[in-house]
Structure formats: structure tokens, C-alpha cells
Amino acid sequence: MQSQMQFPSGYGSHLPNYSAPSGHYSQVPNKAAASHLDNQYRASYYPGYYSAPAQNVMASVGSNVLNAQESQQLYNNTPPHSGGSSDRPVQGAVSSASYLHVSAQQSYSAFDNHYSTSVSSSVASQGFPLNSDQYAMPVVSGAMYPNVSYPPVAAGSVYGQTFTSQSLPAVGQFKETNVFSSQSTSVVPHSLQQHVPVGYNTTLSTASSAQSVQDNLSRNLTGSVAKVNNQINTGGIDSSQPVRSVSHNIPFTKPGAGTSASSAVMSSVRSPAPSLSSKPPSSPSVAQSPELALQEGMQYGGYVNNQASSAPAPLSSSSDDEEEDEEDEEAALDSSSTTSSASPVLNNYDALEGGGYPETRSVTSSPVPSPSVLQSKASKPFGYGYPALQPGYQNATPPTPVQPSNPGHHPGFQHYPQQYPGVNQLSSSLGGLSLQHSQQPESLRPVNLTHDRNILPVSSVPAPVPNLNSDLRKLNCSPDSFRCTLTNIPQTQALLNKAKLPLGLLLHPFRDLTQLPVITSSTIVRCRSCRTYINPFVSFIDQRRWKCNLCYRVNDVPEEFMYNPLTRSYGEPHKRPEVQNSTVEFIASSDYMLRPPQPAVYLFVLDVSHNAVEAGYLTILCQSLLENLDKLPGDSRTRIGFITFDSTVQFYNLQEGLSQPQMLIVSDIDDIFLPTPDSLLVNLHESKELIKDLLNALPNMFTNTRETHSALGPALQAAFKLMSPTGGRISVFQTQLPSLGAGLLHSREDPNQRSSTKVVQHLGPATDFYKKLALDCSGQQTAVDLFLLSSQYSDLASLACMSKYSAGCIYYYPSFHRSHNPTQAEKLQKDLKRYLTRKIGFEAVMRIRCTKGLSIHTFHGNFFVRSTDLLSLANVNPDAGFAVQMSIEESLTDTSLVCFQTALLYTSSKGERRIRVHTLCLPVVSSLSDVYAGADVQAVVCLLANMAVDRSVSSSLADARDALVNAVVDSLAAYMSTASNLQQSMLIAPNSLKLFPLYILALLKQKAFRTGTSTRLDDRVYAMCQMKSQPLVHLMKMIHPNLYRIDKLTDESTIHVNDRVVPQPPLQKLSAEKLTREGAFLMDCGSIFYLWIGKNCDNNFIKDVLGYPNYASVPQKMTQLPEVDAPSSERTRSFISWLRDSRPLSPVLQVIKDENPAKTDFFQHLIEDRTEAAFSYYEFLLNIQQQICK
């Protein structure tokens, strides 16, 4: 029996359980194993970042790895139908060799389970001309990363990656499409099932996988666990109950219900496994039945585990009578459902139809999986035989390891109930209908904006899911990295013009990812005519040829690509990781280098004039640098240098061997030169002591300076000269208007015009000195990052050019003072920490390709555009976002899908040349209503914001504001004209665009575009710079902050992250009507948190959370919450830290009382309210309505 074969020889005590007729067996999750493997896995992907834990593990894992390989080899020899006999030795080998690591042993056995579940796969039934030694589904997932290897884990790579691949999808897919995505994989099992003996019902339950994923994610992505768990649960649900996993960690489980439901199961779970597990599973339970449908489910189950677990899966056995328990559990699982349990009739239906899984749908109301469930049927008929493939050629593809979650969307699952209610209600009756039918009415559902006041979702707005078939959908790129304003691309430019919505992409290409397949291959397969990288959406015409999805050219598959090193199998080009993942990273060969990869070079250019010393930023900077000197990304070649300037420019000779740093002063600022070109940029490691000396001395070196002038221009010229041989990063700290030498600026701001409603001038640069400098720097692969810490007008509009065109970033700290303005000081500290330690890519270029017919119109962001589709990025950092406007040049009538591909070629801080490729696939539609149905309102608003910034600089602010209002008016008018049955007297928006007017109003009240409210020019320009360079998630928080009431946080609807309970208070409207004096409110503006305390706020809350006896004693400048041992304090802090963890820059918390001057900052974000100069939300709607009727 196969169940036995899966079972490692070391587990003898469990045999009885395994020999149960239904063939169930169980295993206990071991959290330790999970985390070890995760570590290893991380090591293979992110050696630099996770190296510390990873290396510890590697040694021990290494030996296991060999076994894994061995076992794979053995599997290779295993004919598909006779896996059982030859598997045993493998198991033996695995278990015997892995005493070293009990956890590892377990994991291998789990791993083997994958194999065994699918070894019997009859490949032929899939229609693939496959060799007998090919694996079916699970192996496929293993095969995802054939070449994915990282040197330190040479032997281990295969194994590690296998696991990796399994753990990736769980996270990734979810993020990407919010759809449970085992569909295409599930397909294989469907076709396999005939060959599976009835008694063979092995299932991998996923309790431990939940844990492992949690481990996996916890460090960076705490919030995402909820989703993962959700997925795991739903995975179980989808698979028609064979896999049922419940763990304490799974947030959806209502503790009582979950445990009780599975208690019956638990006994059988635990009994076999006591010796195995240091931590018994919370309650993994698997119910299985011998029915066919359930076998399918079982396969799903295996798959679920595949996806979710890189760790040993707890296998649990149960008998058929436990089914009902399972169902109850499912009911209990979803947080919002009423506890209706599945009807047996539906079960039968399910069994008959094979794959409808209706009971799941009726039971679960966590509808995320539902769409995909619905689609699974639709997608089944095609996609399995080679020739009939859709462009995306899916066969048993394991999930897309698209990246981990975006912090901003963690609570996303909560929305789905709203988004797809129709699906849930209709699902059981509509069975096989595709999502399309039920989804579209939902996103098109007319919303009467003037009547519906509560349009804001409970938690953050999810990205719409492209209306693709489930195979493509789960392969698609994560919306966090790549989003399109219209997820349904209009067929022609005429249709696009009719829709009055902008078409464009929002990119966050260098985002921090926890999972990323890295591919080392001597040939990177690309289209020969358009140079597109091979991606999941290409179609394989046959084994030897593939058709490019962008230009439709037919290319040959290179010989090397036919071979899959991981599975050691040949002839499966479609199973290569490049074709399985829409986000991959290639290690590039020397063909992709113009020169040897540069070392990491950091140069700091510091203002040390009187003004700067007064502000005291040097102390913070030097402190930060000292702390993070070892964490600066780089290798042994890393170089660092310092330049300071006031009216002269000072260089520091830090050459190794000197007893102390040497200062060299150049006072000839009109013709700047480098005093000693060789010793100014020094090796970080060789001269570390000198650097530390300098950093310790620097804050006090200039304390008595009387120099008030600032020769920024000459200092920058010197910096450029210093950097030009290598390239790298220049960090400029400036505290005032440059007043000497080249690039000097004059004050252009008229303070009396700050609140003018008419013309806002001087949004553009005063001189092109900084732009030219930036272009020169960009040409020498040098980026300039600007930190402006000034209390007075410093002409950011001109200074910002140095960063804008050299792909740098801009930080601005208005009225910065170390002691007088602790909020800004703390912010600088936190920003610096992130800035110094974050990933960095040097000498980068980014190219964006799109399907023939589409073309790129305009780019937004910080970069230099080198050709129509190529951006030159001297540096690329993980916090940089880009926007691209697209236009449709040729009609797209002959294609049903369009693809966009961004390829970012960069040199990592370790001196490796790498290419990160993202591919997004979207459907083409021909009707206007479909275009509206697919509108992504957040992306639309962000793109409009970018366009408005351009407009206000090139034309005027008033023009830009008008254009924003017109964008709403035009698109809503166009929508209302398509829906003829609507009454003209009402303001109707499609559900997908219901937040559009609100966001536009928020934009109009944003610092960048507001008029009438006093806004300093620098603040305004900074806000504009941010709009251009921030990725979508951050930008949305800037535009429309999230408001939560936090004085009554309860444990209801919480999520669990890392054993921590995180409450999820609902989003509040940004209106003063929601504020009560009795409450405390937290506003999340992205870069800052405001905590507003009402006057009559409960004293208990003030005492517990703020640590003060009453309202009056709360200090004015409070930026930290004390650690008080009270439940409300714990909840508040865990909520705030959860919000913080979800973004790279840790925002500063500011407590605001009624009489606090910062109150205005808080209240100006209440954008739904009327201000002296601007409409309230309701007035704005009426205004729009008027304009539409005109």
C-alpha cells in the first residue's frame, strides 16, 4: 500500500494506524523542523539577508539533503504505477540518515508523501507525451526550481528548493490573486484518480504547514499569516474535506468550535505520533472518504500541503464518519459564516460532477476560494493537452510563488465577503458557471453615491482580481509588485477614450520579497525578436518551440531548457521555474555586463554650516551610521567616504594606516578639485577604525562654527568627481538654501501666497544645475539621495532634481530640530536605519515590455528615461515605486490576453548581476461595462496623482486640480450613459469605482494639490515628489489615511500573528462625525501615526494604554506607548506594531490631545469634512452631479 510506503521506517509505532482500511495516516507537525527548513530555504534565496540563521542550519540539513536527492533519484527510476515497492528503500534511507535531525526526518517523510501520492499518476492521462520517469503533480512542484540554487547550499539546493517551492505558493498566490489556486494542479489529480486505488487515501494535512508558513513569514510579514492560514483552510475546504486542518494558529478557527469539532479526530491523530513530536499538533485532522470525489480532494490535500508546507506535514487519519465533524469545522472556520453545514445532497452532486465542491461553497463564506472553485470547472476542459493550450500553457503547474504578502492587504480576506457575496449565494446552484457571470455584476453593481454613505470597506481595499481563468490567475504577478489601472484592458484606444479612465501600470519592482525563485542558468531564454524573458504566459507549441506572448514570434526551446535539473527529467520545458512563476530572478551572465560589477560605494555629503550644527542632525546620523556600519549592504569591496561642506568643502582622508582621520579643506569652490583622489573613498573593512573615529568626532567637530553659507553645488561636483570612476550612492544632507558657488539658489517663496487659491508658482526648478548634475551622475551610475532637514524655505523644487533624475530618493524633515522637534528626530532616526540597511541595486536598468499594440506613453518616478521603454536607474531601492502611462496604438481585437513584463537588471550589493522579471497578464474586453468592471480604483487614483503632478509643474496647479475633478466627472458620466436604465438625477458609480470621488477629493485636499489652506512651498513640492516616487500602498495611505477607533479594541475578529493577537478594528470614515470625545482614534497616514485622545476618553484607557492617570496629565509631545501589563494596552500595542510591521519605514506615533498644535495636522486629514477652502465629501458629490448634468 502506498500509505505504508510513505511512512518512514523509523515510525514503526504508527503502522497500525496506517493500515486502517481507508489508508489514513497521521503525522505530527514539528514546528522546529518547519522553521529549520524555512531557514534553509531562505538561505538559498536570500543568502545575504538571512544568512545568520541559515548558516547554522545548513550544516545539519546538508546530510539530509543528500537523502532527498537520493530519494529523488530513486523516484526517477520508479515507473509510475509501481511506486510502492521501490519507495520503501528510499524511506529507509531518508529516515536512517536523518537521525541527526528528527525534524528533518519528518519533513522528508512528508516530502515523500508528496511523491507517493502522485507517483501513481498516469501521465498519459494528462495528454502529455511524457516519459515514464516523469513525476506527476508533486514532483512538478518540486521541479519548480531546477536551477534555483544558491552556491552555499550546493548539495542542498535541490532539496531546499523543493521545499521552497512548496512553501512559496501558499503565500504568494494568495497575495497575488486572492484566489485559492490549486486549480490547475488539482486538475492533474483529477486525471490521475482513476489510477489511484480506492484504499489509497493519503492526505497531508496542513496544520504544521500553517505553522511553518507562519515561521516563514513571521519575521517580515507578520500579517500575512492570516491569509496563509486562510488559504490553508480553504485548501482543505476545496478539496472536499479530505484535508481538514485546524491549528491553534489559524485565526479563523473560533477556538471553541474548532477544537470541539476536531476533538474526535484528535485522538486518532495523536495516538500514532507521540514520539515524533515535541509539540503535538494543535489539532490537525483529516477526514477522508473513499469516494472518488474525495480522492480528488485528497490529491488536493497533497497539493495543499505542497503549497503551504515546507515542513513535515502532519498526517492525520480519520474515518468517514468524521466527515460531518469536518463540515462543522469548516463552518466554524470562517469567521463570518452562519454555521450552516453542507448538505449531503450537495456532496453527492460533488461526487458526481467531480470537482464542483458545492458543499464547500455553501459552507464557507470566506469566499476567497470560491471564485476559483467555480472556475475550476470551467478551466478543466482545456489546458491539459499540449496543443490546446491557452497562451499561458498551464498544466499541472504548482502555484506561482508570487511574492509574499503586501502588508497593506493583510486584512484583505475580510473584504471578500463583500466582494463576492453573489458567488457565495449562487454557488451551489450555479455550480460550474465561471466566475465571470457572478463577479461582474458585483463590480458593476451601481452604487448611488449620494445615498450610500458607508462606502468604505471594513478594512483596506483589495486589488481587483483580473478576470482570467484560474490557471492564469494564480500564475499572475502579485498586485503588490505590479498593478494595472484597468484589469480588463479595452480593445481599442477608442474604447479607452470612451471609458475616460487612464490606462497605466503601477510598479513596485524591487520590493522586499521573502520568497523569490532565483535561477542560475547559462542561457536565459528570451524571445529572439522582442527579447522578452520566457514567462508563464507563453505558449508551448510543442516540446521544442514556444510562442512569445508579447510579439507572437515562435522561438526554439534551447536544449538546456529541456532539462530540469531538479527532477533530472528531460523534456519538460513547461515545468521550469521561469514558466511557473511570474516573478523570478535570474543570475545574469557576463553578457549582461558592460563592465565588471561595481562594488557598493557610499558617499556621505554633509552640511556642517551653523544652521546644520544648530539643528543637530549630525549626532543622529553618526549614531545611526555607527550602529549600522556592519549592516550596510555590500561585500568585502564596499567603500565609503565622507565630504562635509559649509562655505568650503572638507574631505576626509581615511586611508588605512593613518593614526586618525585627516581633514583636507578645499576652499576654491569655483574650481573644485579632489585633494587626494585615492584615499577619500576607502574600503569599509580595512579602514573601519578610522571611520568610527571620524563618526565619533564629527558631531562635535563643528560645534563652534560661525559659517552660515552653504556651498552645496561645489560639494556635489566634488562628490560626482569622487564617484564617477565606480558609481554608487551619494547621500546628501542639506539644511538650508545653497548660497555659494555653482547651483546657488534664491528664495522664491512668498509666504503671503501660501494659502493663495489662485496661482502657485515655482513648482519647477529655478536652475538646471542640479538636473545636469543628476544626469551626469546617472551616466556614471551614481544616485544622489537628498535628506533635506530645514526649518526655512530651501527650494526643494530645485534641489529635488538631483535625486529625481539620478534615481535617488528624497527625504524631507520640515522644521527639523533634534531636541525641539523630537517627532522629526525620531523619524530621521528610523528612516536612516531603514535607509542604511535596506537592499540596494546598483547600475540598474529597467525595461518594460508589453504586448504588441500597446505602447508606453509616459513614465513617472525617479529615474532617467533612456529610451522609449528603458529606464536608467543608477540605484534602485526597495521603496521606489514607478508608474507608467500606456496607450493603445493598435487594436487588440485579435488577442484575448495582453501581458506586461518588467525586467530590472541590477548589480546586487554582493557584486552579482541579477535580473528580476515580473510578468502580468490581463484579459482584453470589448465592452465598456467590462472596462468599468475591471477598474482598479486605487491604481487609477495613484496614476492620476502622478499625472496631476506633471500637469501642475508643466502647466499650473489649477489646471491639475481641474483635470482631477474632470477625471471623476467624465468617467462617471460615461458610466451613467452606458447604463441607460439609471435615473439621471442620481449620482451612480459602478461598485468598482465607488471610492473614486472620495479618493479624488482626498487628493484635492492633499498637501500637494490643496489650495486655500496655508501650505509651504517645500511641503507641497515634497508631497509631489512623494507621489511620483512612492509605491501604490504607501501612496494610498498618504492620500487617504486609515482611521481606527482603538479605545474599545476587543478580541473579536482578531487575527493571530506570531502567537500574538492582533485586533482588527474597522476602518472609520475620515470625518469628524466619527470622532467622539469619549474615544481614542488612531490615524495611519503611512509615514506617521496620529493617536487622537478625546477629552472624555475613558480614564482606564488613558491609564492602561498611555500610562498616565488622567487626560490632563498626558504630555503634549508623546511619541511612545508605555508597556503596561493590561489587556487593552497589549491589544493597542500589538495593533500598532502590526501596522508598523507591514511597511518598510517605521512610522512615528504622535499622541494628540485637543489643545495640541499638531491637532490641525490630524484634522486636515479628515477629508470628508468641509473646510474653509474645500468641499465636504457630500458637497463634492453634488458638485460632480451638477457637472455631469450640465
Binding site: 544626469l775 509616459t858 532617467f864 528615461v865 502611462q885 496607450s887
Partner: protein, 144 residues
Amino acid sequence: MAFAFAAFCYMLALLLTAALIFFAIWHIIAFDELKTDYKNPIDQCNTLNPLVLPEYLIHAFFCVMFLCAAEWLTLGLNMPLLAYHIWRYMSRPVMSGPGLYDPTTIMNADILAYCQKEGWCKLAFYLLSFFYYLYGMIYVLVSS
């Protein structure tokens, strides 16, 4: 003398327009190269920018010549272009050197398309005016 001067003006304009035609063709080719990724925008702007003022000055020069020759019709035909040139140069981006084209904005599809269109329109205008000057020159010579 007057007629001789007018004829001279036409002859000079004929030659200069031929030069302007070459400028326009150069301009069109340059932007086409930009569009098809052959050239780096910085290089391209560096080659194009020095040519902008000479072109405008040449055009302004024979406008002045026609003014002196009291060829009102010809002058009238050239005035719109002269005005356009002045407007175009006044509204150029902030630049320290001479020229019109900013490498950071030139790749914007709108600006690129505009510059290309501008090139074609100017080429057409110069070609037509070339034949008009030829006609004008002969007419002046014959009528004298």
C-alpha cells in the same frame, strides 16, 4: 536697385531655405532615432540643442531681409513661423545652455510626438517656401 535687392533676398532665402530643409530633415531623423532607441536622449539633445538657435536665426534673418525689401506677402507668409519660433523659445524648459530640448522630458510620448510632428510640418513649410522663393525670385527678375 530695389528690385535687385528683392531678387537678392529671394536668392539668399532660396539658399538658406535649402539649409533649413536639411535642418528639418536632420531634426526628423534625430527624433526617429530617439523613438527607435538608437540614441541616448542626452547625446541627442546635445547634438540638437546647438542647432535650434541657428535655425531660428536664419529664419529670422531672411524675414528681416524681406522686411527691408518690402516683400510684404512673403513676409506675411513667414510671420506665423517667426512668431511660433519666438513663442517656442520663450516657453522652453529651464536650461542654462541654448536650445530647446531637455533630455529628461524628451522621451515623454507627447513631447516626442510633438517634436516629430513639428519636424514634418517645418519640412513641408520649408519645401513649399523653397519653391515659392524660386517663383518669387524669377517673378522679381522677370518683372523688372
